[in-house]
Symmetry: C2
Subunit: 109 residues, 2 copies
Protein backbone atom coordinates (compact mmCIF):
# COMPACT_ATOMS: atom_id res chain seq x y z
CA UNK A 1 0.00 0.00 0.00
CA UNK A 2 1.35 3.37 -0.97
CA UNK A 3 1.40 5.97 1.81
CA UNK A 4 -0.12 8.62 -0.42
CA UNK A 5 -2.91 6.46 -1.84
CA UNK A 6 -6.05 7.97 -0.32
CA UNK A 7 -8.50 5.53 -1.87
CA UNK A 8 -11.06 4.24 0.60
CA UNK A 9 -10.76 7.25 2.86
CA UNK A 10 -13.50 9.84 3.21
CA UNK A 11 -14.87 12.69 5.21
CA UNK A 12 -17.16 10.49 7.29
CA UNK A 13 -14.41 8.95 9.40
CA UNK A 14 -10.66 8.59 9.82
CA UNK A 15 -8.98 5.68 8.06
CA UNK A 16 -6.45 3.48 9.88
CA UNK A 17 -4.14 1.06 8.06
CA UNK A 18 -1.49 -1.15 9.60
CA UNK A 19 1.67 -1.01 7.48
CA UNK A 20 3.76 -3.28 9.70
CA UNK A 21 3.24 -5.35 12.81
CA UNK A 22 6.43 -6.96 14.09
CA UNK A 23 7.37 -7.98 17.59
CA UNK A 24 6.36 -5.11 19.88
CA UNK A 25 6.06 -2.55 17.08
CA UNK A 26 3.09 -1.50 14.97
CA UNK A 27 3.40 1.04 12.19
CA UNK A 28 0.13 2.62 11.18
CA UNK A 29 -1.04 5.12 8.61
CA UNK A 30 -3.91 7.40 9.56
CA UNK A 31 -5.79 9.62 7.13
CA UNK A 32 -7.85 12.44 8.62
CA UNK A 33 -10.28 14.58 6.68
CA UNK A 34 -10.73 17.47 9.12
CA UNK A 35 -11.67 15.07 11.93
CA UNK A 36 -10.66 15.58 15.54
CA UNK A 37 -10.96 13.53 18.71
CA UNK A 38 -14.58 13.70 19.90
CA UNK A 39 -15.30 16.47 22.41
CA UNK A 40 -14.23 15.54 25.93
CA UNK A 41 -12.39 12.37 24.87
CA UNK A 42 -8.70 11.66 25.42
CA UNK A 43 -6.32 9.02 24.16
CA UNK A 44 -4.75 7.26 27.16
CA UNK A 45 -2.47 4.57 25.75
CA UNK A 46 -0.55 1.93 27.66
CA UNK A 47 2.25 2.09 25.09
CA UNK A 48 4.60 4.70 23.64
CA UNK A 49 3.83 6.30 20.29
CA UNK A 50 5.85 8.37 17.86
CA UNK A 51 3.81 10.17 15.25
CA UNK A 52 4.64 12.33 12.25
CA UNK A 53 2.48 14.42 9.93
CA UNK A 54 3.46 13.65 6.33
CA UNK A 55 0.80 15.77 4.66
CA UNK A 56 -1.66 18.32 5.99
CA UNK A 57 -1.48 19.61 9.55
CA UNK A 58 -2.99 19.02 12.97
CA UNK A 59 -3.39 20.45 16.45
CA UNK A 60 -2.51 18.25 19.42
CA UNK A 61 -3.39 18.94 23.03
CA UNK A 62 -1.84 17.30 26.09
CA UNK A 63 -4.10 16.80 29.09
CA UNK A 64 -3.62 19.57 31.64
CA UNK A 65 -2.02 21.93 29.12
CA UNK A 66 -3.60 25.03 27.67
CA UNK A 67 -1.67 25.44 24.45
CA UNK A 68 -2.47 23.35 21.42
CA UNK A 69 0.68 22.14 19.65
CA UNK A 70 0.58 22.65 15.89
CA UNK A 71 2.08 19.84 13.83
CA UNK A 72 2.81 21.00 10.33
CA UNK A 73 3.86 18.78 7.45
CA UNK A 74 7.03 16.99 8.50
CA UNK A 75 6.67 17.63 12.24
CA UNK A 76 6.83 14.69 14.62
CA UNK A 77 6.21 14.20 18.33
CA UNK A 78 6.75 11.49 20.92
CA UNK A 79 3.75 10.51 23.02
CA UNK A 80 4.86 8.54 26.09
CA UNK A 81 2.54 5.87 27.46
CA UNK A 82 -0.23 7.37 29.61
CA UNK A 83 0.46 10.88 28.37
CA UNK A 84 -3.18 11.75 27.74
CA UNK A 85 -3.69 13.66 24.53
CA UNK A 86 -6.29 14.52 21.94
CA UNK A 87 -6.33 15.80 18.38
CA UNK A 88 -8.01 19.18 18.55
CA UNK A 89 -8.16 19.70 14.81
CA UNK A 90 -6.80 18.52 11.49
CA UNK A 91 -6.43 20.34 8.19
CA UNK A 92 -9.76 21.55 6.80
CA UNK A 93 -8.56 21.96 3.23
CA UNK A 94 -6.57 18.84 2.47
CA UNK A 95 -6.26 15.34 3.93
CA UNK A 96 -3.84 14.91 6.81
CA UNK A 97 -1.63 11.84 6.45
CA UNK A 98 -0.08 10.59 9.69
CA UNK A 99 2.47 7.89 10.22
CA UNK A 100 2.39 6.45 13.74
CA UNK A 101 4.87 4.03 15.30
CA UNK A 102 3.47 2.29 18.36
CA UNK A 103 6.05 0.72 20.68
CA UNK A 104 4.97 -1.68 23.38
CA UNK A 105 7.55 -2.45 26.03
CA UNK A 106 7.47 -4.51 29.19
CA UNK A 107 8.08 -1.34 31.17
CA UNK A 108 4.80 0.27 30.21
CA UNK A 109 2.30 -2.52 29.83
CA UNK B 1 13.65 18.47 13.37
CA UNK B 2 11.28 18.66 10.46
CA UNK B 3 11.35 15.68 8.09
CA UNK B 4 11.48 17.90 5.03
CA UNK B 5 14.23 20.21 6.28
CA UNK B 6 17.16 19.39 4.04
CA UNK B 7 19.65 21.76 5.63
CA UNK B 8 23.00 20.18 6.30
CA UNK B 9 22.59 17.60 3.56
CA UNK B 10 24.58 17.64 0.36
CA UNK B 11 25.67 15.77 -2.68
CA UNK B 12 28.93 14.60 -1.11
CA UNK B 13 27.34 12.05 1.21
CA UNK B 14 24.07 10.73 2.62
CA UNK B 15 22.76 12.34 5.80
CA UNK B 16 21.48 10.21 8.68
CA UNK B 17 19.45 11.65 11.56
CA UNK B 18 17.98 9.73 14.48
CA UNK B 19 14.45 10.94 15.11
CA UNK B 20 13.68 8.56 17.97
CA UNK B 21 15.55 5.95 19.95
CA UNK B 22 13.36 4.10 22.42
CA UNK B 23 13.70 0.62 23.82
CA UNK B 24 14.57 -1.67 20.89
CA UNK B 25 13.40 0.81 18.22
CA UNK B 26 15.32 3.47 16.31
CA UNK B 27 13.61 5.77 13.83
CA UNK B 28 15.96 7.38 11.36
CA UNK B 29 15.71 9.86 8.52
CA UNK B 30 18.04 9.41 5.60
CA UNK B 31 18.58 11.96 2.84
CA UNK B 32 20.16 10.72 -0.36
CA UNK B 33 21.35 12.95 -3.17
CA UNK B 34 21.71 10.40 -5.95
CA UNK B 35 23.97 8.22 -3.79
CA UNK B 36 23.89 4.45 -3.85
CA UNK B 37 25.57 1.70 -1.84
CA UNK B 38 29.20 1.46 -2.95
CA UNK B 39 29.85 -1.09 -5.69
CA UNK B 40 30.07 -4.62 -4.36
CA UNK B 41 28.88 -3.71 -0.85
CA UNK B 42 25.78 -5.07 0.88
CA UNK B 43 23.90 -4.18 4.01
CA UNK B 44 23.72 -7.24 6.25
CA UNK B 45 21.92 -6.17 9.40
CA UNK B 46 21.33 -8.18 12.56
CA UNK B 47 17.98 -6.43 13.07
CA UNK B 48 14.74 -5.96 11.14
CA UNK B 49 14.13 -2.73 9.25
CA UNK B 50 11.06 -1.16 7.71
CA UNK B 51 11.76 1.67 5.30
CA UNK B 52 9.61 4.07 3.33
CA UNK B 53 10.45 6.61 0.64
CA UNK B 54 8.74 9.91 1.48
CA UNK B 55 10.22 11.95 -1.36
CA UNK B 56 12.21 11.00 -4.41
CA UNK B 57 12.70 7.39 -5.45
CA UNK B 58 15.18 4.55 -5.14
CA UNK B 59 16.15 1.14 -6.47
CA UNK B 60 16.72 -1.67 -4.00
CA UNK B 61 18.37 -5.00 -4.75
CA UNK B 62 18.19 -8.13 -2.62
CA UNK B 63 21.25 -10.39 -2.63
CA UNK B 64 20.79 -13.26 -5.05
CA UNK B 65 18.00 -11.54 -6.98
CA UNK B 66 18.29 -10.11 -10.46
CA UNK B 67 15.51 -7.56 -10.46
CA UNK B 68 15.95 -4.20 -8.80
CA UNK B 69 12.85 -3.15 -6.85
CA UNK B 70 11.79 0.42 -7.53
CA UNK B 71 10.53 2.32 -4.51
CA UNK B 72 8.58 5.38 -5.57
CA UNK B 73 7.38 8.14 -3.28
CA UNK B 74 5.17 6.52 -0.63
CA UNK B 75 6.39 2.95 -1.19
CA UNK B 76 7.64 0.97 1.78
CA UNK B 77 9.37 -2.36 2.25
CA UNK B 78 10.28 -4.67 5.11
CA UNK B 79 13.88 -5.83 5.31
CA UNK B 80 14.21 -8.82 7.63
CA UNK B 81 17.42 -9.25 9.59
CA UNK B 82 20.19 -10.78 7.50
CA UNK B 83 18.32 -10.16 4.26
CA UNK B 84 21.29 -8.74 2.42
CA UNK B 85 20.40 -5.73 0.29
CA UNK B 86 21.88 -2.70 -1.35
CA UNK B 87 20.61 0.58 -2.74
CA UNK B 88 21.34 0.45 -6.46
CA UNK B 89 20.33 4.02 -7.17
CA UNK B 90 18.45 7.01 -5.78
CA UNK B 91 16.73 9.86 -7.57
CA UNK B 92 19.13 11.90 -9.72
CA UNK B 93 16.92 14.96 -9.94
CA UNK B 94 15.65 15.56 -6.42
CA UNK B 95 16.67 14.49 -2.91
CA UNK B 96 15.32 11.15 -1.71
CA UNK B 97 13.95 11.31 1.83
CA UNK B 98 13.73 7.95 3.60
CA UNK B 99 12.19 7.10 6.93
CA UNK B 100 13.60 3.91 8.44
CA UNK B 101 12.34 2.06 11.50
CA UNK B 102 14.95 -0.32 12.91
CA UNK B 103 13.60 -3.02 15.22
CA UNK B 104 15.95 -5.06 17.35
CA UNK B 105 14.47 -8.17 18.91
CA UNK B 106 15.94 -10.95 21.03
CA UNK B 107 15.14 -13.35 18.21
CA UNK B 108 17.52 -11.74 15.75
CA UNK B 109 20.41 -10.39 17.75
Amino acid sequence: MNLFDLSGSGIDKEKFDTLLSKDNVTIERIISHAQSTPEGEWYDQTWDEWVIVIEGKAGLLFFGEEDVITLNKGDSIFLPAHQKHRVEWTDLEEPTIWLAVHIRSEANT
